[in-house]
């Protein structure tokens, strides 16, 4: 009892569970209730990742209305793209790296309005923290 299989970070099952948890997450809901904007979250290629991992999330008023793992970044045009290495994504998911600080020191790259993000830092931080709610294993 109490043992739950850990899901591989950013796999289909992991994303599904992440979104289920996000849509139940009251703290995120409150923080993001005014948020409108969709994202590509991209893991850049590196030693652990042969081809880019591209996650599409449509975030709207505190909920995720749609999500998909995409074959390539041109498959969807979004308002924001947030991308970085697998190592930094792992740190972000583990809560070792704060998303805003990570942007300021260029560990992640953002396309889209940084000022819109800065007006919603609480939502960004709760979105990252939602990873805690998914039992996760990393590559």
């Amino acid at each position: 009892m109490g043992y739950e299989e850990k899901l591989l970070f950013l796999s289909e099952e992991w994303v599904k569970r992440f979104v289920e948890e996000l849509n139940k997450n009251q703290i995120y809901f409150e923080a993001a209730k005014d948020w409108e904007g969709d994202f590509l979250f991209i893991v850049n290629t590196g030693p652990k990742v042969k081809s880019e991992i591209i996650l599409y999330l449509d975030l709207w008023h505190g909920k995720c209305q749609d999500y998909k793992i995409l074959p390539d970044r041109s498959a969807k045009k979004t308002e924001f793209i947030f991308e970085g290495s697998y190592e930094n994504w792992e740190k972000l998911a583990k809560g070792e790296l704060d998303p805003i600080k990570a942007l300021l020191v260029r560990k992640f790259k953002l396309s889209g309005s940084m000022s819109k993000i800065m007006r919603n830092v609480k939502a960004a931080s709760e979105l990252a923290k939602n990873c805690n709610r998914v039992p996760t294993r990393f590559l």
Binding site: I27, I100, L104, V105, M114, S115, M118, V121, S125
Partner: protein, 388 residues
């Protein structure tokens, strides 16, 4: 990785303004407001610049909480005049305006709202920036932020870019000497809160810590002197330096909950910033203590407090803050600032919403939820000691 950004040169002490005589260039645009101009400060600055062989022009239309329109107007003047130096002269608003005008002057293709830490602005192709603060508090001369109000006057755009940190800062005590006691107190408390919040913030680092502790020591000693005797030039000089050190501290760490709550209160009820964050400080310390007792003990030790237990250190520190507040006539509660409960309560939800989404709340050592923010605001209204 983290970084410490600061102005390239900081001139300080009596006659620091004379450094302007050594500036090399052709034209300087002084950006300031009516009050500062009336005091003759802009004239003084331009006299020295002329001695250095520069032509000067003054844009004196910056209002408190500068608007986008003012920035656009100032940038238009800059474009026509073609300065190679911009001089931000005055309090935080004037220096903030100078930063934003500078961006539009260098980058006519950009809008004010697009200034962001991730955007390469490419400043310093046309001009460099000198900031000369005339109050001792905002720290804008040392930070990479600028606050501009949108046209409707409702939203404050908090914009930031490391490129906005001025090239040269001049801290001459002849300017803050003219501050009336009320402004001395408000701006001095703002500086204290910048350092106290930077020191305990999640973004704290060794460089910002050193600046914060250095400033806190100075402020406890010299703020009452500057408040009681406007002509105490030593106290004025020390407070002027401490305000910039506090700017370096929070600019390279972050402010905290007293600021996110203070900005919300200031925006809704139009009450002075420094007084508001100062009033909130004891509540915020008490609230944060559970998370960061040892950091507050370090602050207490730095101002010479001696005690046997952490709890005693912190109690004495909070008392020292309150004593300082009393010496410089800072109110202890929102109620004491002249607001009635009904007016306050009708805006409570909006206060909570605004404080909740601020980056200063997120980086505070203890992050409140809405319920805790409600209690903090209510306690601060009623002058109730924080007990949760």
């Amino acid at each position: 990785m983290w970084e410490f950004t600061s102005p390239r040169k900081i001139l300080f002490g009596e006659d620091a303004l004379e450094y302007l005589k050594e500036i090399e260039g052709n034209k300087a645009l002084i950006i300031t407001g009516k009050t500062v101009k009336k005091l003759g400060f802009a004239e003084k600055v331009s006299k020295y610049l002329e001695e250095a062989g520069l032509q000067t022009k003054t844009f004196d239309e910056v209002e408190p909480e500068p608007s986008i329109e003012t920035i656009v107007k100032g940038a238009k003047l800059a474009k026509e005049y073609g300065p190679d130096w911009l001089i931000g002269l005055g309090g935080g608003s004037n220096m903030d305006a100078a930063k934003a005008i500078w961006v539009l002057y260098e980058r006519p293709d950009m809008e004010v709202g697009a200034i962001s830490p991730l955007e390469k602005l490419g400043l310093r192709n046309k001009a460099k920036l000198i900031c000369i603060p005339t109050t001792s508090g905002s720290g804008s001369e040392a930070t990479w932020a600028t606050i501009i109000t949108d046209s409707a006057g409702r939203t404050k755009l908090e914009l930031a870019s490391k490129e906005l940190v001025p090239d040269i800062v001049i801290l001459d005590p002849q300017f803050p000497k003219f501050m009336p006691p009320r402004l001395t107190s408000d701006s001095g408390m703002d500086a204290l809160v910048h350092s106290m919040e930077a020191y305990v913030n999640q973004w704290r680092n060794d460089f910002s810590n050193a600046m914060a502790i250095g400033a806190i020591k100075i402020i406890f000693e010299y703020l009452p002197r500057a408040y009681n005797n406007p002509d105490d030039i030593e106290a004025r000089e020390k407070m002027h330096v401490a305000a910039t050190m506090s700017g370096l501290a929070f600019g390279n760490s972050q402010a905290g909950l007293a600021h996110s709550m203070g900005h919300a209160l200031g925006a809704i009820f139009k009450i002075p910033h420094g007084r508001t964050v100062g009033m909130l400080l004891p509540y915020v310390i008490k609230y944060n203590v559970g998370k960061t007792a040892e950091l507050y003990v370090e602050i207490a030790k730095s101002i010479g407090i001696q005690a046997n237990t952490n709890q005693k250190y912190i109690e004495t520190l909070i008392q020292a803050v309150k004593d300082l507040m009393e010496k410089v006539s800072v109110p202890f509660s929102i109620k004491d600032m002249g607001l009635d409960w009904k007016t306050f309560a009708s805006e409570l939800d909006e206060l909570i919403n605004r404080a909740m989404v601020s980056s200063e709340t997120i980086t505070n050592p203890r992050i409140p939820d809405e319920e805790e923010l409600k209690r903090l605001f209510t306690y601060a209204f009623n002058c109730t000691e924080v007990d949760f």
